[in-house]
Symmetry: C2
Subunit: 165 residues, 2 copies
DNA sequence: CTTGGAGTGTCAACAAGGCTGACGTACTGT
DNA sequence: ACAGTACGTCAGCCTTGTTGACACTCCAAG
C-alpha cells in the first residue's frame, strides 16, 4: 500500500507469479468445494442444489427471478433443482402477497438443517485456512477476491451483504 | 482492526464473516473463469480442454497418468478431451522413449497459441485484481489459498512450481 | 520365457447440470 | 382489454463427469 518503492511492485507481477496465482486459485477452489460435495454425493444432490439452498437461506423469501439473477443460470436449469428440493421437503414455495405472480422461497426445518451441515463443513475449512494464514492475510485475501469479481457480481455480493446483516 | 489485542482478532471470525468469505470465493471464481470460458465457447471447447492445455503447457512431455493425478478425473473423461485436442492438432502424443507404454504430451504451435490466448485473458484479470488490492493483499491472498487446498493438492501444486521454474 | 501388473486406449451406458426454444398460465399495471 | 412479467414445463442438445469391461503393449520378476 504506502510503499516507498515504485518498480518492485511491478516486478512482483511476473507472468510466473500470476500463473502461480491462477493455479492456486484452481486447487484452492477444488478444496473449497470438496467437503460439501462429499456430503451432497451421499444424497441425490449436487453443487447446484447447494447453491440454491445457500442463497435461499441467505435471503429467505427471495423470489425465483432474484435467485436466477444471483446464480446466473436459466430458469429451466434452476427449476429442475428447485423442484426436487420442494418435492423432498427442503424448500417451500409460497405465492407472493403483494404480487401473486411471484413465488417466495423459504427453507423448511429440514432444509435449514442441511444448509447448516453443508456450510459448517465449508466454514471449518475456511476457518482453518484463516487461522493458518493469519488476520492480515485474511484481509488481503478478501481484497483480492473482491477485485477479481465482475462488477455485476460484486453488486450482487454487496446487495447480499447489506440485506443479510 | 482497531482492537486492543493483536493476533487474537481471529477470535472475531464470526460465522457471518466466514460466510462472506465463502460467497466471495464463489463469485470470484466465477469471474476468474469467465474470460477463458468466453473464448472457449467460440470453439467447440470447454473448461476441461482448458485445464488439459494449461497443465500440458506447464509441464511439457508429461504423461497421461501424471495428468490424471493432477486433474483428478477418470482416464475415460480425460481421454475424450485429449482425443479431440490431438485430432484438432493442438496436442501431440509421443510414445515414451524409456517406457514405451507411456505417452508424452506436448502442445503444438497451435496449442501454444491457444494456451497463450486463454491464460492472457486470465492473467489480465488477475493482474488487475492484484494491482487493485496491493502487494500486501496479494501475499495474504496466496497464503489463504495455500491453506485452503487439500494436502494432496498442495503437493501437486508444489511439484508443479518446483519443476516449472 | 512366461506371466502379473502397470500404462494406455476405447466402447458402452449413464447422470448432473448447463443451454435454447417454445408454449401455457396466472397475474399486474396501463 | 391487453401487453408484459413471473413462473412452470416439455423437449432436445451439449459438456463433462462417472462405472464397468475389455484389449493391447510393455516392463520386471520369477
Amino acid at each position: 500500500m504506502g510503499d516507498t518503492y515504485g518498480g518492485e511492485s511491478l516486478l512482483f507481477l511476473t507472468d510466473e507469479q500470476l500463473r502461480q496465482g491462477i493455479e492456486a486459485m484452481y486447487f484452492a477452489y477444488r478444496g473449497f468445494t470438496a467437503d460439501p460435495d462429499r456430503i451432497l454425493a451421499t444424497m441425490a444432490y449436487g453443487r447446484a442444489h447447494h447453491r440454491a439452498i445457500h442463497f435461499i437461506n441467505r435471503a429467505p423469501g427471495t423470489t425465483v427471478t432474484n435467485l436466477l439473477d444471483i446464480l446466473g443460470v436459466t430458469k429451466q436449469s434452476l427449476n429442475r433443482v428447485l423442484r426436487t428440493l420442494i418435492e423432498d421437503g427442503l424448500v417451500e414455495s409460497h405465492v407472493g402477497k403483494t404480487d401473486k405472480r411471484e413465488r417466495n422461497l423459504y427453507l423448511t426445518e429440514e432444509g435449514v438443517a442441511l444448509e447448516a451441515r453443508l456450510s459448517d463443513a465449508q466454514r471449518v475449512r475456511m476457518r482453518a485456512a484463516y487461522r493458518d494464514a493469519g488476520p492480515e492475510a485474511v484481509a488481503g485475501f478478501r481484497r483480492v477476491l473482491e477485485a477479481m469479481m465482475d462488477t455485476e457480481m460484486r453488486r450482487k455480493n454487496d446487495a447480499l451483504r447489506d440485506g443479510g446483516s
